[in-house]
Subunit: 369 residues, 2 copies
């Protein structure tokens, strides 16, 4: 059962994960190179379905924590990846049977693959965000009652830590400070749980989805087809059923700061044929809300993706720059992420936004009406 990741599969997966990163999650390019090096050295990454583990098997999700703006200036070496896993295993007094992503977007879709290659652990094809989110408590695991603690954290320098917080928000609060001290980037393992709990609380099949989306973009390019129509077609038969273009234009302003361990800011775009027609996206690592003029056209947890208008290649928030021709592509989140308890955890109010959540497909229908 399961399958071994190929080099081609990895490339597709990385591009799809950049899309699901919804502007954040860190550019998967660096992570892809780390995994490629492992594969070329003869190591394997086994991806397994969420049903392939016995109920009581211990799963330790893994990721990097920090601001994507840091990852591009100080490339992660991967050295702390295994250290974080071993620290949590030691603390729990148990050995992991598998790892998995906590978010399937961006760099963090790659880090569990790297860990799988480094240790031989299989990687579960599922995650706890169904996209990327900036904070550790913003997990379907958390929404459905799993404690993120105890978690482990490791630097590239050999330091490790364990955090056992009273709740998942305080875990984020404490781990963020450690991450900042560790240089703005750290390796973590959190939400230790058994496979039965993974089945109950994770968004399933998201590594496969990312690979399919990446393959869709690759094939559209090869066929000189419209990448956005191709993406919408692929999404139509998944739990992310709606994919749609919201806007196409040119970046006319980017405001970006690395503050409190996050990349925060906003990007403003103008339509090519009407410079007065503007779309502004606010981000905290990931894109949070897109406003066309004063009207909200998409809002968390729906995915707001900024893609190169020619190639469909995802552009992450740390790479946004004046003059880029971008297409804003929105993807509806699965129902598991739209439940009231999920929206309390990672809906608009969790980011201090005053707007109510409205599904992106409803916003689009209202705009057409």
């Amino acid at each position: 059962m399961g399958h071994d990741l190929t080099l081609d599969g990895l490339r597709d997966l990385a591009e799809g994960a950049a899309l699901l990163g919804t502007g954040g999650g860190g550019d998967p390019y660096i992570g892809r190179l780390l995994v490629e090096r492992q594969l070329r050295a003869g190591r394997t990454v086994r991806i397994i379905g969420v049903d392939e583990l016995p109920d009581d098997a211990l799963v330790l999700p893994s990721a990097m924590m920090g601001a994507p703006t840091v990852f591009v200036e100080k490339l992660p070496s991967g050295a702390g990846n295994v250290a974080a896993l071993r620290a949590l295993e030691r603390h729990l007094g148990r050995t992991a049977a598998a790892t998995m992503p906590i978010e399937c977007g961006g760099l963090n879709s790659m880090m569990p693959l790297l860990l799988g290659a480094q240790t031989g652990l299989p990687v579960v094809d599922a995650d706890g965000m169904g996209r990327a989110f900036p904070e550790l408590q913003m997990e379907t695991f958390a929404v459905y009652g799993v404690s993120g603690s105890p978690m482990s954290i490791a630097s590239d320098h050999g330091d490790t830590g364990i955090i056992d917080a009273v709740d998942n928000r305080r875990m984020e609060w404490l781990a963020r400070a450690m991450t900042i001290q560790m240089g703005g980037a750290a390796y973590i393992c959190d939400y230790p749980m058994d496979a039965a709990t993974v089945r109950r609380t994770a968004v399933p099949g998201t590594l496969t989805l990312a690979r399919r989306l990446g393959a869709t973009l690759r094939q559209a390019r090869a066929a000189h087809a419209d990448p956005f129509e191709a993406l919408a077609g692929t999404l139509a038969d998944t739990i992310y059923s709606h994919g749609m273009v919201l806007f196409a234009g040119k970046v006319i302003d980017v405001e970006r700061r690395t503050v409190d361990g996050f990349a925060r800011g906003r990007v403003t775009m103008a339509a090519l044929d009407d410079p007065g027609d503007r779309l502004e996206i606010t981000f905290q690592n990931e894109h949070l809300v897109a406003r066309r003029g004063t009207r909200v056209v998409a809002i968390v947890p729906d995915l707001i993706c900024t893609l190169n208008s020619e190639t469909g290649a995802p552009v992450t928030t740390e790479a946004l720059a004046y003059g880029q021709r971008l297409t804003v592509f929105a993807i509806s989140t699965p129902d598991i992420m739209r439940a009231p308890e999920a929206l309390r955890c990672f809906g608009p109010s969790a980011f201090g936004l005053s707007e109510e959540y409205t599904p992106v497909e409803r916003l689009a229908a209202a705009a057409r009406a």
Copy 2:
């Protein structure tokens, strides 16, 4: 062997510890009240000599970490004290045979006594600073090769953490950030070691010394005697052999900020009979250097104590205020703290001061010459 702490002994110890806190360490008043409550509830605190444990007995030093300015506004409840101990025991997979202070100055002379009362563990009569210092790596333990890691940290809210850093400076760096997130004050256990190592690396007898100094001040008050002469007399036959008045005057300026988890600033005093004769002390939690005009009259690691001119009662940096009549009293540090390797760890250069260390008794002799 050893002895049980009495209520009277506790009061003397707290006052002597405020003196050895050299302006910092946190006012022991709050810690004294926490220990008093335990003693009145029938619990006991057993103080034992450094020779009374078998070589391989595990000693877990304990303390509070944070800015003294925070302790006086947000009183520690003591709730996290036991949590920190248990977290480190769990991590090590071993049970402590005793605790001890990491610094014998201020509040941190009291916290191990509280832990002893809470858990029944004896408290070793020794410490790792021979006074108070602001940072975790500034320990005789560290100077003589002991790793501070793994250390535990706990908040008053139920959060705990373990830090296993590559060196003691990075441990301080990581723990300081956790302390700030925990509200500016946290409970820690660090420098786990066996009793043989305590004997090799600790400053011995400092709880007893603090109690003797406190008793000296109490008895001087009762006898209407000069408290400073009395202190100098008591110190003369200890390893802290020189005690001397450097200055007496009135506080004319205090500059104090709580920044990066520390209380930083300086106090300026003017002589009562000559307002142009001024002494300025710079502090980082503790007093670091005293300058009379431009001349250094005492510098770390020698102890610079600010005492009420009438009563000899120690005044900590967070309590310094305009108009106070204070006497600046210096105490020479033991030889173990003046070795070149010790001065590299907590001498002037460790605090960014450009002056060389000169023993306070030599500075005093030079001033008289």
